[in-house]
């Protein structure tokens, strides 16, 4: 069954030479979509959405882990405390992936986990301590 999952890959400086995404495509028939990539002299972080057969996805992740890269699946890593949230909307325009939206009828703020890339931009926009990132 074909599916889509989001992952965070964390490299140290030694693993930066491996062509991870190429291997995902050529060996595991996976369609990667890089959502965020940050590299510096100490390593880097790659956030990507992978689409493929469930079996292939699992094999691919095992392979990436075998290279020494730390892999974390991202699902609902941004949490929103509905008791703290006042629906002010401060998080909406700072969210690069448009995961936070306001319903312009009810003026409620909605969080779409599918779109969230766990960048953390919303954390410093929320004045009520309603958002936390659990990565």
């Amino acid at each position: 069954m074909s599916m889509e999952r989001k992952y965070k890959f964390q490299f140290n400086e030694l693993e930066m030479q491996s062509s991870v995404t190429y291997t995902l495509v050529s060996r595991f028939d996976i369609e990667p979509n890089i959502l965020k990539a940050e590299m510096d002299d100490s390593g880097g972080v790659l956030i990507l959405k992978l689409k493929g057969e469930e079996e292939n996805l699992e094999k691919a992740i095992d392979h990436v882990r075998s290279l020494g890269i730390s892999v974390m699946e991202l699902s609902k890593h941004i949490t929103r405390d509905h008791d703290r949230c006042i629906d002010c909307g401060s998080c909406v325009a700072v969210c690069p992936s448009k995961a936070f939206t306001i319903d312009r009828e009810s003026w409620e703020v909605h969080l779409n986990f599918e779109k969230c890339v766990a960048c953390g931009s919303c954390l410093t926009s929320c004045p009520t301590h309603a958002i936390s990132l659990t990565i």
Binding site: I86, V92, V94, W107, P127
Partner: protein, 382 residues
Amino acid sequence: MAKTVSEINERIRSGKAVVYTAEEMVDIVRDKGAEKAAEEVDVVTTGTFGAMCSSGAFLNFGHSDPPLRMTNIRVNGVEAYGGLAAVDTYIGATQVSESDRTYGGGFVIEDLIAGKRVSLEAWGPGTDCYVRKNIKTSFTLDEINEAYLFNPRNSYQNYGVATNNSDRTLHTYMGKLLPRMKNANYSSAGELSPLLNDPHLETIGVGTRIFLGGGEGFVSWQGTQFNTTVPERNGVPVGGSRTLALIGDMKQMSHRFVRGLDIYGYGISLAIGIGIPIPVLNADIARHTAVSDADIYANLTDYSVTSRSRPTLAQYTYEQLKSGTIEYDGHSIRTSPLSSYRNARIVANTLKDWIEHGEFLLTEPVKKLPEESSVKTLEIRE
């Protein structure tokens, strides 16, 4: 046909008052005209729910035995003013905790209203009449004598829109501003905002009974930085102008409408729900309460300019701001409200409900607020 406040109160008492929110009033006046609307509608309720930094609470703790004259006071680790009588204090919304930068006066006020127990530490000089020199205890809102919010500047009549044309992210009291004008933040509730519905304060003045933080409050004075000189478009000011000083009993309030804020990079503040009822005494007042988001303009300014007066880049209506994007110089800027329109609506509807059920009567101002007032600046002299 003109009405009086006492006639309206008579109708409220008998459960016959016709009440609409300022949002609903837009369509009513559009459909029926101001004259007919003024005949049919008795009261229009307004609402706002946003950061009101110039807020705080007076508390009286009661005396310990032996008593202490408190001159140095901490409530949940947040400094409260020690320059009043022995056990009176004022805790300001923006006072930051000495041990936790994400906590402060606004959160102490929220915690008290939520019924939470807070710690109290105080020190004094020890005098012949107040021999104790320190105390360490705790209290809840119910256990102390008076506790009332007294806010020197709330409910701004309109406000600016903030953006950032620099190369780095700014963290301001107008929220997080991304570089190169990627976003813009506005804070007024627009057509539902109290003072935009009575732009020249014909019905609102000293003594006006209002909804404050879920309880009953009053307008006590003009707010600080009260300004009547801001240019108008469609009869309403295009920037921050009139303000209100408000007072209300914390023991009646709900923490749903009084919330501590931690504005990253700026500091601590307090969000308060405020609703003001406007008696529809005549057609002019009806017309004013029908002001819509499309009629109200606000100035876009660049917060990377650090001087006191920032040039206006453009003007937008609240209809444009609330759409989620505005256009500037050929590119679009995403917008965020900083005040909660959802909660502003809840405030206006709660007040409407109180009035419809005869639980809340209107007042005539004891004193009008200034018709002319401008804001002075602070000169640096040495």
